[in-house]
């Protein structure tokens, strides 16, 4: 049994002269949820399609469960669940017919899993695909990815189109798969979608790998802007010297600032001075890219006063 479930070594894909992804190198261990982040068009889908064998590799190497994907060995895909971005399904089938077709193609009986996952996601199996909303089609996609209890899950924007309640159930599915030792790669262009699920993330931009890091570290490196509302006017001076806090501006009883890393020191001080409410503005991925790519403050907390 190889140590890593998914392994990329310098994976590079060109479409003719156009770059898909360049030199991606990371490993995902069994039992790990790995977030794949980047703006639209960064190359996440390209990398995932290489892993499931839809695209050929230009150079470098990609392995799933120790099997080189360029060997086109279909056997390894028995243990892989793949959810394409905005999956396209056979419109003339019902959800049930579609899922049974896919499980027959896999040569296994997934009846029980299909029913149980569909029920959890509140998917009506009797309706035709062409009558389903995008969100419900996404659910069919989720069921087919999970139904055979794969050891590796490759999920391209899995929660897009799902309502918040279904997203929560999806998170439980991911947790369960993780608990039985599956390696899960899930992509998103929104950090908040993966930060609760993933242990580690890779961020790519314009086809190139920007960083691989644990979610907890990434959050420490993320600049967030915070609005604090106090019961009375406060003095700017009370915030000086708190680690990671910058750009403090006071407007009477309202204070705005940016914070990097842990917020507890800031909040403790604020509570002591009559904090009424807090508003946090998550920084977007673009902000993280910017702070990381520009090699600015976010990379090195020690430069922050």
């Amino acid at each position: 049994m190889p140590k890593s479930a998914i392994k990329l070594e310098g994976l590079t894909k060109y479409y003719g002269h156009d770059l898909g992804v360049a030199d991606l190198t990371f490993e995902i261990n069994p039992g790990e949820v790995f977030g794949f982040l980047g703006p639209n068009g960064a190359g996440k889908t390209t990398a995932m399609r290489v892993l499931v064998g839809l695209l050929t590799i230009t150079s470098g190497r990609a392995e799933i469960l120790g099997v080189d994907v360029s060997t086109k060995n279909p056997e390894v895909r028995r243990r892989v669940g793949y959810l394409p971005g905005a999956p396209s399904l056979y419109e003339n089938l019902t959800s049930w017919e579609h899922l049974i077709f896919l499980s027959r193609m896999r040569g296994i009986d997934c009846t029980r899993e299909i029913h149980s996952i569909a029920e959890r996601l509140e998917l009506d199996l009797t309706r035709h695909i062409h009558d389903l909303s995008k969100g419900n089609q996404q659910k069919v996609g989720v069921v087919q990815a999970f139904m055979h209890q794969p050891a590796v899950l490759i999920l391209d924007e899995p929660t897009s189109g799902l309502d918040p309640i279904v997203q929560r159930e999806f998170a439980v599915l991911v947790d369960e798969a993780q608990a039985r030792g599956a390696a899960i790669l899930l992509s998103s262009h929104v950090l908040s979608e993966v930060e609760h699920l993933a242990d580690r993330v890779v961020i790519i931009n314009a086809g190139k790998q920007v960083l691989v890091d644990e979610i907890s570290h990434l959050k420490e490196r993320t600049i967030r802007s915070i609005d604090l509302f106090f019961t009375s006017t406060v003095d700017e001076a009370i915030f000086s010297g708190i680690a990671g806090v910058k750009e403090v501006v006071v407007f009477g009883n309202r204070v705005t600032c940016t914070v990097i890393g842990a917020e507890n020191a800031l909040l403790r001080t604020a509570v002591e001075h009559g904090l009424e409410s807090v508003q946090t503005h998550e920084s977007s991925l673009d902000d993280i890219f910017f702070s990381i790519i520009s090699g600015g403050d976010a990379n090195d907390p020690s430069t922050i006063s």
């Binding site: 086109k72 394409p84 971005g85």
Partner: protein, 265 residues
């Protein structure tokens, strides 16, 4: 061969296919049932046809209406019959992989634990079965018809004619499959195969008139199948062999190319 995919491929096409089958049976019934009338006025008809321009008679293989074989050859087996076989062959070929790619259902189909070769072979076998069933339909409807109307054609010649139509359908199915497997575009598969079929038909029809076309007729699938005039001369093993062999080569090339294709989002 993957049974689930084989059955699904048949199911995806059955509506349109059934329409063609009914159309073919209707066409055969009507053509054969009016034959006694045609034959009784055959001499007048012959004079009439003799006034047709030579080119027109050649293109549509309009020949002797006084014999059953000549009549069927002109009215059914030179154009309308093969057209149905080719239409079905091309449409099944274009949907084999190109339609799956364009509809993006290929994303799920090709990431199953099944090689692309097996998937394409299954679709090819389904298309061949469609041609065989169509040929059987043509054969049986002709056999039933000749019980009521005497065409003076033996069953082996009817079988040979039906088979040659199926071979032609399989040839252009292979061409559409190849174009689809190479480019992943339904329009290219359909358009390319139809263009080649039209070119093949015109070259075949005009070969007696245009010496250039006559010289290259040995590479024309129409020549291999209809050219040996199976309804009058019966089964031609050599020509059938060439057609089958070429079909196998084109299907093989389709699989070869499809295995290497990038299936882009």
């Amino acid at each position: 061969m993957i049974p689930a995919l084989f059955l699904k491929t048949l199911r995806d096409h059955w509506r349109g296919y059934l329409g063609w089958i009914i159309g073919l049976v209707a066409m055969v019934s009507i053509l054969v049932s009016v034959y006694p009338t045609v034959r009784s006025s055959a001499s007048a008809m012959s004079a009439f046809i003799a006034n047709y321009p030579e080119a027109l008679r050649q293109i549509f293989r309009i020949n002797d209406y006084t014999s059953g074989a000549g009549y069927l050859s002109s009215e059914l087996l030179s154009f309308m019959g093969p057209l149905i076989f080719i239409a079905i062959g091309v449409s099944w070929g274009a949907s084999a992989t190109a339609q799956e790619e364009e509809n993006r259902t290929a994303d799920l189909l090709l990431t199953l634990p099944i090689s692309r070769s097996r998937i394409l072979i299954t679709k090819i076998l389904a298309a061949i079965l469609a041609q065989v069933v169509l040929a059987l339909t043509l054969y049986l409807s002709l056999m039933v018809s000749v019980r009521f109307v005497d065409l003076s054609i033996g069953s082996s010649k009817i079988a040979a004619a039906s088979l040659s139509c199926a071979l032609l359908g399989i040839m252009y199915n292979a061409v559409a499959t190849l174009l689809g497997a190479a480019w992943g575009k339904r329009s290219i598969a359909l358009g390319g195969a139809i263009a080649l079929a039209v070119a093949g038909f015109l070259f075949f029809s005009l070969a007696p008139l245009v010496s250039t076309f006559n010289r290259i007729k040995s590479v024309n699938p129409f020549q291999w199948t209809l050219g040996s005039e199976p309804i009058t001369r019966g089964f031609n093993a050599g020509q059938t062999g060439i057609t089958l062999l070429t079909g196998i080569v084109i299907f093989g090339a389709s699989i070869f190319l499809f295995r290497r294709r990038d299936i882009s989002a």
